[in-house]
């Protein structure tokens, strides 16, 4: 009963907020005030620093033991297909995430040791692969090999000085 009433209250508030937004002519409804330009910039900087870390790891031959890097088979993180995960993956033998697959690739084709799935390294690689597919429609389990976003120059993400923004 209590829960129902709370839900009702929330929906009323949400409706009011939506109406207010409409009145103000704003397209988005925020849980709190929109981030300031400075805040948004900080967040973007943090994100891109993580993308860069991931890019470096993706191109590193230190994750494995046979000289190979993720980028050997997945230049620009192509064919990592971040938009299709989670899914049942036959090599994993289960429904797994992109992180599981990154570890599988480190262990099998690269002949290395799996890394902690919650480590910053893993977050970085997942961030890089996903960022290189920005704008690609989510399609869990879709049987598709995606080339990623087309890249003209630079590393494929904004670095501030390569006109890639």
């Amino acid at each position: 009963m209590e829960a129902k009433r709370t839900l009702k209250k929330i929906s009323v508030v949400a409706a009011a907020a939506g109406a207010a937004a409409l009145l103000l002519g704003i397209g988005n409804v925020y849980a709190k005030k929109p981030f300031t330009a400075a805040e948004a910039e900080d967040q973007q900087r943090e994100l891109l620093a993580m993308v860069k870390k991931g890019d470096d790891l993706w191109h590193s031959d230190k994750l494995g033991t046979n000289g190979l890097a993720c980028a050997n088979c997945h230049p620009d993180a192509s064919a990592s297909n971040p938009h299709t995960w989670p899914k049942y993956q036959t090599d994993l033998g289960k429904v797994g995430t992109l992180r599981d697959m990154i570890n599988w690739c480190i262990m099998v084709p690269l002949q290395g040791q799996a890394i902690d799935v919650n480590s910053e390294q893993m977050v970085a690689m997942e961030t890089y692969a996903t960022y290189m597919h920005r704008g690609v429609k989510l399609a869990p389990a879709k049987d598709e090999q995606h080339g990623g976003v087309p890249v003209k120059s630079g590393p494929g993400y904004p670095t501030g000085d390569d006109g890639n923004r």
Binding site: H59, A71, P75, G148
Partner: protein, 338 residues
């Protein structure tokens, strides 16, 4: 030299499907458009039919018993066991991964087990540790031509890039490291450059237009995906020089995949590696039906293979992709006509 514009060239190589038709409209001077199936409108001179084989992109590491050693060895064994014994083998570059002499000599040792002669051109991975010193010491000239049973064969070094290392004070290892990344955004697009263009012009000067020509470069002679150097920067000039011929077959490595295109009188095929397969880049393929399937990353032989090219008396060619695993759709399995 009669050239068609860079813009037209880019336009017709990027537009899929109708590309060659559009090309015919936009640049009628390009020459007769070949129907898919490779029948030239103007007949080339008759030749003695024969077969040759193609291997490429082994990317050998200086690591003992590396898995890629075994895959190249499998390619060599495959060629040696071909039912139709090839007259020779062309190796289309990237024998080594990091341009080390040890990698190249390991590769040469494996290639020397071929029971037929082979000719070789360099790839970027062979070259940028010592700027071709070890490679040329081992294999000789990086561009060449020869005639065989009525066909004129040309091989060129298509991976030349302007000096980006001296000013930055890069060590040979650092330079090689940059170039070894497919996305090499530090080095830019590569090509055959002026000296080889002059050589090519001279090489084909005395040949009549009905001479059957096969040209080998490491990278494609069309603008496929420049980001990954799936291109040759002076392909337009090469097309211009070769335009006088009724029909030219171009075969290239570098892309580690099955891919096909026709531009004017040049019909080209990309072939599989013996190291790892590359995904199709985020651009439309000009001939989307001629490609390989997705590979199973657990199978180290998947997406890789050797190739034979059969040439008929009329200079019709068929590329037989000998995939080491079942990665080819039926139409490609039957052979791709050039």
């Amino acid at each position: 030299m009669d050239k068609f514009s860079r813009r037209d060239f880019l336009g017709l190589s990027f537009k899929a499907g109708a590309a060659t038709m559009v090309a015919g409209l936009v640049t009628p001077s390009v020459g007769s458009v070949l129907g898919l199936g490779g029948v030239a409108e103007a007949a080339t001179r008759k030749i003695t039919p024969f077969t040759f084989a193609v291997l490429t992109d082994s990317h050998l590491f200086d690591i003992e018993a590396h898995k890629f050693d075994a895959i190249l060895a499998k390619g060599v064994a495959d060629v040696n066991n071909m039912k139709q014994r090839p007259d020779f083998v062309i190796y289309a570059g990237d024998l080594a991964q990091l341009g080390k002499e040890a990698e190249l000599s390991k590769g040469k040792k494996i290639l020397d087990k071929l029971k037929v002669p082979y000719r070789i051109i360099p790839g970027e991975h062979d070259w940028y540790r010592d700027l071709g010193k070890a490679w040329t010491g081992m294999f000789g000239a990086d561009h060449w031509s020869f005639d065989h049973k009525g066909v004129h064969f040309i091989g060129m070094n298509s991976i030349l890039i302007p000096d980006f290392w001296t000013q930055r004070g890069l060590t040979p290892e650092e330079r090689m490291g940059f170039v070894a990344e497919l996305e090499c955004h530090q080095c830019g697009p590569w090509g055959v450059h002026e000296q080889q263009l002059q050589w090519l012009e001279e090489d084909v000067k005395k040949l009549s237009p009905d001479t059957p020509v096969v040209v080998f470069t490491h990278s494609p002679l069309w603008n496929y995906y420049p980001r990954w150097n799936f291109q040759t920067s002076d392909a337009t000039e090469i097309h211009g020089i070769l335009r006088k011929f009724d029909k030219v077959m171009a075969v290239h490595g570098h892309v580690h995949q099955v891919v096909y295109n026709q531009i004017g009188n040049i019909v080209s095929a990309g072939v599989m590696s013996t190291s790892w397969p590359w995904p199709y880049p985020p651009v439309e393929l000009p001939y989307p039906n001629i490609k390989m399937n997705r590979v199973d990353p657990a199978d180290i032989y998947d997406g890789l293979g050797s190739h034979e090219l059969n040439l008929s008396a009329n200079f019709d060619g068929v590329v037989q992709y000998h995939a080491f695993s079942d990665v080819l759709p039926d139409n490609v399995k039957r052979g791709v006509k050039l």
